[in-house]
């Protein structure tokens, strides 16, 4: 009997991530590519890449769960689940004691409470505006003429922080322009931006409450300075996966596996 294999694919606004699992839950392949303008196509490309990497064919795959914004457009999916459930399951797989997941994605930030089995108990998402999301950082990086990597330099917690008080991306951008006009050092502005995101996340966290270990997912988790600030604000350490972007796809793959085994 051929091995049973499962795929989770997360078609996000910025990147499309794919995870291939065997029936023991072992990760055989991880793919991250830019989504571009066509999510459906990105999913196909990621799928083909994973298959060629592992020398498999589509016929070898037992079930595929799609998640993320483009979840409805993935033609080869056998099921779809929101990224909220997927991040919960994915975080639980990586850090089984996780009780709270903070996902800072490209368009959305969310705080998810999960139980000991990784099932969602409650969740909250950011307002419609992009404050407190990856998009916010992207806009600001652009304005500061830094790339996203430079924006994520570990900040000096003792260092000076330029006040960015607006929680609206558009307003915050004009604040950044004013600060630049006043020759405020860029490091201080970066500190201010990170502080602003953490404040925003903090509001969501307090509205839902923290329980168990906290796991941070989504691409913004690579921002070391932000993680430090968040830990300081939470007063506890935060689990950061090696590859925080892939957590949604990982969760989706596990949902495919579980759904298949439960028939």
């Amino acid at each position: 009997m051929p091995p049973r294999l499962f795929v989770g694919v997360d078609v996000g606004s910025l990147s499309t991530d794919l995870v291939l699992l065997n029936d023991q839950g072992k990760v055989l392949s991880e793919i991250i590519i830019a989504t571009g303008v066509n999510g459906a196509e990105a999913a196909e490309i990621a799928f083909d890449e994973a298959l060629s990497e592992t020398e498999l064919t589509r016929g070898d795959i037992s079930a595929v769960t799609a998640t993320g914004y483009g979840r409805a457009s993935v033609a080869f999916a056998t099921g779809k689940t929101t990224e909220i459930s997927c991040h919960g399951v994915g975080a639980h797989q990586l850090f089984p004691n996780t009780g709270t997941v903070i996902d800072i994605g490209g368009q959305d930030s969310k705080v998810i409470q999960i139980d000991a089995r990784g099932r969602m108990l409650d969740f909250t998402m950011n307002d419609k505006c992009a404050a407190g999301t990856g998009r916010f950082l992207e806009v600001m990086a652009d304005r500061l003429e830094l790339d996203l990597g430079e924006l994520s330099n570990p900040l000096n917690l003792e260092g000076e922080t330029a006040p960015i008080s607006s929680t609206c991306t558009v307003f915050a951008e004009s604040e950044v322009i004013s600060l630049l006009a006043k020759h405020t050092p860029r490091e201080q502005i970066v500190n201010g931006l990170q502080r602003s995101i953490v404040n925003r996340i903090w509001s969501m966290v307090t509205s839902i409450g923290v329980q168990g270990e906290v796991t941070l997912t989504g691409g913004v988790a690579n921002n070391k300075g932000l993680v430090l600030l968040l830990e300081a604000q939470l007063g506890r350490p935060v689990n950061v996966p090696d590859n925080p972007q892939i957590v949604g796809a990982l969760g989706a793959a596990h949902i495919a596996l579980k759904g298949y085994s439960q028939g």
Partner: protein
């Protein structure tokens, strides 16, 4: 199965046949009084279309109900031939009433009707009766003396509509109303513009079976000012999520919470009716009462979760919302809050939220 006339076409027809039509803004007003003067109230909550002209009169942080209503008024639609009525609902509508009347100016009369605020007692009751009388006097200046018999008939008609609405609500909560989410709220909202006789016919045509219809959908109560946009209601239908109960200003908050005795004295009846309306943010009564009421509706409808459909910048709702969400979460009820600016189309974010609520409720059903 239901044949509900389109709002615009229906009102155009009415207007062509010489009917007097008054544009009424949200939310609470003695509709029976208008009927008795042969005026058809056409309620204005969320007129569709782009907001263009209203932005020249209102700031960006004013709620879309107010903005859309003003946009509608600025078009000076012919069908509104008997004027506008602004019930006192919130600070923004209060000011809009005088802004339209005193600063912008419209070619038809502008009326207002104060709704008392806070916790009610005998003094409030006396005042409500007084302002009903004042309202009558003001309408008489334009429309001639009130025919008491007509008022009495109107109250009886109103009473029948309320009673039927209450039956339908209860039927929906107990799975005896085979209507989709979209159909149900379309039916409810038809009361915003139909002639009472037509509306009653429509309501009476719906049959209510004695036995519940098997329902494996996840059950949700929706609270807020307005039901979700029809596009969103369809999405709920697609996902097998059933909005079994509502706590909406445009819905159950405008129907007395218990069945009243048939009207004897019209003014007494209308006063009684107002004070038997369910707790509502816009009347600003006790928070404890409101929470107890919500909890009771959740129990009666066996709702597993609550959706708060919050109109952006709606201050009355936003204050209560925070405390209601807290209290509901304490009792273990999942809550989803969504902002709406009352336009159509579903964003990816909206879909994700609704689906996630569905996943959460189904997870709970399994365990």
């Amino acid at each position: 199965m239901m044949n509900i006339p389109n709002r615009k076409e229906y009102l155009q027809q009415q207007s062509q046949s010489g009917q007097q039509i008054m544009g009424v803004l949200p939310a609470l007003y003695p509709r029976e009084m208008l009927w008795a003067f042969d005026i058809l109230p056409a309620e204005i909550w969320d007129p569709p279309g782009d907001i263009l002209h209203a932005n020249a009169h209102l700031q960006a942080t004013i709620c879309p109900v107010v903005k859309r209503s003003l946009e509608f008024i600025l078009k000076e639609p012919d069908i509104i031939n008997a004027g506008y009525l602004f019930p006192h609902t919130c600070d923004s509508l209060q000011n809009l009433a005088t802004q339209v009347k005193d600063l912008i100016g419209v070619p038809v009369p502008v009326y207002s009707f104060y709704n008392p605020k806070g916790e009610f007692n005998r003094t409030t009751r006396q005042y409500y009766t007084d302002i009903l009388g004042d309202f009558q006097t003001i309408l008489e200046q334009q429309h001639g003396s009130l025919d008491r018999k007509k008022l009495s008939t109107a109250c009886k008609l109103g009473h029948k509509i309320d009673s039927r609405r209450l039956e339908l609500q209860n039927a929906r909560m107990t799975d005896r109303l085979p209507l989709s989410n979209s159909e149900y709220f379309q039916l409810i909202r038809a009361g915003e513009y139909l002639q009472p006789e037509d509306y009653l016919k429509l309501l009476d045509a719906i049959s209510i079976p004695d036995e519940p219809i098997p329902n494996d959908k996840a059950r949700i109560m929706v609270s807020g000012i307005l039901p979700p946009h029809p596009d969103m209601l369809e999405y709920f239908d697609d996902l097998h999520l059933s909005l079994v109960a509502d706590d909406l200003l445009a819905g159950s908050r405008r129907i007395p919470r218990i069945k009243l005795d048939p009207p004897q004295d019209p003014m007494e009846y209308l006063t009684e009716r107002f004070f038997l309306l369910p707790p509502c943010s816009t009347k600003a009564g006790s928070l404890d009462e409101r929470f107890r009421y919500l909890n009771k509706r959740i129990g009666n409808s066996q709702a597993q979760g609550v959706l708060f459909n919050i109109v952006k910048f709606c201050e009355p709702e936003l204050f209560d919302h925070h405390l209601m969400v807290k209290a509901l979460k304490d009792t273990g009820i999942p809550v989803l809050s969504m902002d709406t600016e009352l336009q159509g189309g579903l964003s990816g974010q909206d879909k994700t939220r609704i689906e996630a609520l569905g996943e959460l409720l189904r997870d709970r059903m399994v365990s």
